[in-house]
Structure formats: C-alpha cells, structure tokens
Symmetry: C2
Subunit: 375 residues, 2 copies
Amino acid sequence: MKKEYLYSPGPTTVPPEALSVMGAPMFHHRTARFRALFGEVVEGLKRVLQTGNDVLVFAASGTGAMDGSVANVCSLGDRVIMVNGGKFGERWGQIGRAYGLDVDEIMLEWGTGVTPAQIKEHLTDQVKAVYIQLCETSTAVATDVQGIAEVVGKTDAILVVDAISGLLCDELLTDQWGVDIVVAGSQKGLMIPPGLAAVAVSKKAWGLVKKAALPRYYFDFVKHKKSVDKNDTPYTPAVSLIRALRETLALVEAEGRDTMLANAAKYAKAVRAGMEALGLKLFSQSPSNAVTAVLMPEGADGAEFIKILRDKLGVTFASGQEALKGKIFRIATMGYLNDFDVLTAVAAVEHVLRAMNVSFTPGAAVRAAQELLVG
Amino acid sequence: MKKEYLYSPGPTTVPPEALSVMGAPMFHHRTARFRALFGEVVEGLKRVLQTGNDVLVFAASGTGAMDGSVANVCSLGDRVIMVNGGKFGERWGQIGRAYGLDVDEIMLEWGTGVTPAQIKEHLTDQVKAVYIQLCETSTAVATDVQGIAEVVGKTDAILVVDAISGLLCDELLTDQWGVDIVVAGSQKGLMIPPGLAAVAVSKKAWGLVKKAALPRYYFDFVKHKKSVDKNDTPYTPAVSLIRALRETLALVEAEGRDTMLANAAKYAKAVRAGMEALGLKLFSQSPSNAVTAVLMPEGADGAEFIKILRDKLGVTFASGQEALKGKIFRIATMGYLNDFDVLTAVAAVEHVLRAMNVSFTPGAAVRAAQELLVG
C-alpha cells in the first residue's frame, strides 16, 4: 500500500494520459498515421519552446542532443565558451574536449550562475559558440539566458542553451531572446519517460552547420531536418515516447504554458519558504523554479535522509552529485504537480527530519509553504 | 472493430506483458531498483547474444549503435570493409564516409549476400574492421556470418555485425563464431518499441577502442562500460523501454532461445511456401528467417497492395525501399508470432490479391503454409 512520490529532477511523474498510450499496441512508423502524430508533436514542441525555428527530435536522452549540438556546429580546434557551474555544465566541456575543440571553460563556484558580463569578457572574434544551461540541475541555479543572448547576439557566435531541466519551469523565449540552439529532454517538464530529446535550430546556427567539419551521423542535423520537413525521421523514431509526448503536450496546451511557468515559480517559492522555515539553508544563489537544492542540516547524514524518504515514506528526492553528494538534497517542481503534491514534498522533509531526530518547529515548513500556495 | 496486424520488419508486435509495464508509474534511475532491473536486462541480452562479452545499452535506435560501432573503433583515414547489399549495408558506408574512413565498399546486387571468399579477397593487412549485416532487412538476405567470422578471425581486423533485424530469427553465436561487435535494436526480435539499442564488444574490439581516435561522446563505449560494470548507465537511460525489455527477455527465456529460432525458421519457410504456391517469386537468394521479400505480381501496383492491406484489412506489411519501392513487399516473421499469425499473414496476401483481381488458386497459399506449420 506504499504510495510512491517522485520529486527527482528528472524523471518526473508521468501523467496517466501519457502512461496509458504507451501501453497501446505498436504501429509502423513509415505511415501517414505516424507522420500526423509526429507533425503534431513537433508543432507542440515549437509552442513550448516559443520558436518558429526548426525543431529536430532524436531517440536519445538529452545528452545525445547536447552531443549533436557540438558536433553539428563546430570544426576541429574551434574556439567555444562552455560554462561549467555544475555537473551538466561540466558535461559541455567534456563533449567539447572529446571533439577536439579549443574550450574556454568558465569555471563557476557551484551554486552561482554566469553573468552576461562574464560571457562578454570571454567573447572574442574567434568564438564560434557559447554553451550554457537554462537550469544547472546539479546546483539548482537558473541562468540569465535573456541577458546572455543579448550579449552573444551582437557577435557572430551562436548561443546554445541546455534547457533539459529548466523547460516549462524557467522562462525561455527562444526566438524573442535570440537563442540559436535549445536542447530539450523528455523526462522533466515535458512529463514523459526518458529516451527522447529535441533541439531547436536557428538560421544563424544553420549557417554554422553548413561549415562545421566535425564528423556526425546519428545526430546529423541536416539529415533530421530533411526528414522533419516531411513529418518524418531519418532513423526509426521512439514511437511509444512520441505518442506519450503528444498527450503531455496536449496537457501543457490545456493548462497553458504561462500557467505552467507561473505554477513552477509558485511551487519552487513554496518549497524554498518551507525549507527556510525549518532553518535549512538553500544552496543556489540564483534559484531555479525547476528544482530546489537544500543544504543538509549540520550533522545529519545525507544518504540516510534520502534512504528513509525513499524506503519508509515512498518519496524520491535527489541527493547532491559529485562533491555535493550527501551534502544537499534536491526537490524538483517540474511538470505534473499541484499544490497538494508540493505540500507533500515539504511535509516529507519534516517527517524524515523527525525520524532522524533533527530538531525544528513541527509544522513550520508545511505552514510556510501552504501560505504561499493558497495566497 | 478493425483488428490490427503488424508484420513489418520492425517495429513488431509488443506482447501485452511488455505493454503493460510501460504504462506503470515512472521511477528514478539512480537507485538500487533500477540497477537490479538493468543488471537483469544486460544478463538477458548476453544470453540472447550468446556472449560473455561486455554488452552496452543505449537510449537510441539501432542506427545510433551502428554509429558508435564505427566511431569507437576507428581513426580518421582507417581502411574498413563495408558490405552494401541493401539499405542497411548502404548505411554502414554512409557512416564510414561521414567519419572520414577509407571505405572499401563491397557493392552487392540487391537480393544477394556476401560470401566469406569475397571478404577474404578484400582483406588486407590495412583493414581495421569489416562491417556486415546478419539480415539485410531491405532485401531479406541472411549473411553467412559464421563463415565470414572464420575468415576475419584469422586477421587483425574485427568483425562488426548489424544484427538488428536478424536477432532471434537467424542464428548468431557471438562468442563461438568470434563476432567482435554485435549491434542489436529493440523493435524486432526483442519485441519492444523502438528507442533502445545495444552492442556486444569483444576483447579484440576493446583493443581497437583503446587506439581509436575518432571523436565520440554519447556513444562512447568506454564510458558505457564503466557504468554497466556497476549496472548503471552514464546518461539517463530509457527506463520504460528497459522495463519492457525485461518482460520480453523473460518471454524469450520461457520460450527458449532455440525454440524461437526454430519457430522463425518454420514461419519464414511457411511464408515462402505460401507465396510460391500463389506463383509469386521470392526476391532474396539467401532468405532470412526474419523477413521474406516477395516480388509483386506482374502488373499489380505495389503501393495499392500495401494500402489495401493496411486500410481495408488492418494488416501492415512493408513495401520495398529505394529502388525496390513498389516492386516487392516484405512480411516479417520476427518476435511475438505463432502459427495462426503466420496463417493470417499468408491469408491476407490472398485477400488483397483477390481485391486487386490478380488470379491465383484460392486457398493455395494458406494450404501450403499450413502444411508446413502443422508438420
């Protein structure tokens, strides 16, 4: 009878509407039926990403699309700026070096975000592309994408934003802000299981693609564009996930993109208020609405905290990654959530702290969160 | 009330046991629960592939794993042999050239297979790897992998076999025959939806991986091996598909690998007998047990044939690809099939030919197939 609650920053809870279509019989993808489905999904993604640019969809996890966003726009030795403020920013650098790029890696103190001024300082005529995160999932830091886009937009460089965890939580106006490549993943705000990734590619980015000499095949943007223009894919698509995505995109449409963003902001604010009411410290100096990182109370064991939550209470939070392992816990406020789910997450922290004999004012977190949720 | 029947050479029918788990609530992948699941799936794949070699699993379609099987073992300018006997052999060449390899492409007449003697003729000391298909899906040709492995095994070159469509239909004894890299895909004999791919990598292949200088990240074999050794994945895995795969691997185990292979052989033989009883000609000169390619009767329109089957009868066959479009049709005998499903496929051909006013002896195909199925 133990109910399960998923507050990990990916995967997130998949709504029943999407779960049920994945249990439906398989069908062939080289058909009008698939093309109609795929066309609808691509249009839905464009609305979510607020873009008229090409949107390409891959059977892959988000990292695959990150890989493609390097291989398709650069040549060996190209100078790129990659911002490393956590585990996913670090990944940009790993990909860049794997491809033999000249990576100007901006190392941030974990918990802080990069500023437009910092990017400006590093931008030279040689820089081909700037790689950042909308939300750095490992530190719960939101980036000032709009400000950075303004700076990068004045140069020949393109701006590539990993929006995998931030999408539909932290605002991202692809075309209005001038973001050249946006990377999206399926198992966060898009509310379906992992295994699907997408990129939106601007005209300016296509200009680089033409000249980019790095080898690529599976994630070849040109091949994917040729296919998507016919509502098709160059290689076998992940049909069951695409079907699920049609359902969640319809839910986003019904809820309203703006409402989802406003809700994520409200939920994250409520979680932060709840944690602070317990005397806990927040880790991020520029908190994202997608996920909240909270420092473990002094002396409490982070691994035990996560374990009690999962094994006793059925609640999944994420621990910290790398150097933050056991030192923080993270609560996601992405996707399929309502006020009561947020209250449950906050209450779960009280329950586990009580089990661990950490002292706090009982009910303080729930009361603080509730105040903001009903307000 | 129209029932749907899927005889396309991927995707194949997904058994209800696998469909239902994809409709179950999502859970987090950085957990003991996932590691237990993933470990089980990897062991199951090893049994299917008859290998003690490392098996790596990717969130990707089969083409992604083909891409990785080039990028991980070669360096720029390396000499490779790639056999092009159809659309998927052609893909090896495309990948090889995308990565700047010196591709010795053996062009076959479509419908024929490459022989060990031909491979031997092309093998020089410079050749790093030989790329072939177990079953060339586009032409329904099975390759003599055992014979080719014997030839390649005597050299420093490795043998890479795309077994995506042939797996569990045409025999493949990875270790016994000495196949260095086997590529598998999810939506064929493995009976789950597309979006998951795997490779088995031999010690000899790992030797090449160490020296291979081509850039790679998402499909980096070394990163995947480090993770799979801990029953984990380097990037977010396609959890719902992995769950489904556990179910179908259990079905394979229960049915017996040998029984599945024997059944595929029996089914393909019955389909061929049925088609020949109608006076139709088979396209493949070395027929696979995974799929049967049949030449359209003189004067009958291939597109209309496929359309009537799908729209009127609910039956999905595949048409020909590229130059064979409209000239052949293909009936898969992969995965979740029994005698009655094969009879239905064969009967469907009679039904559509009758609808198209093609003359034949009524019931001849069904009778011929049934004779072999009950025999």
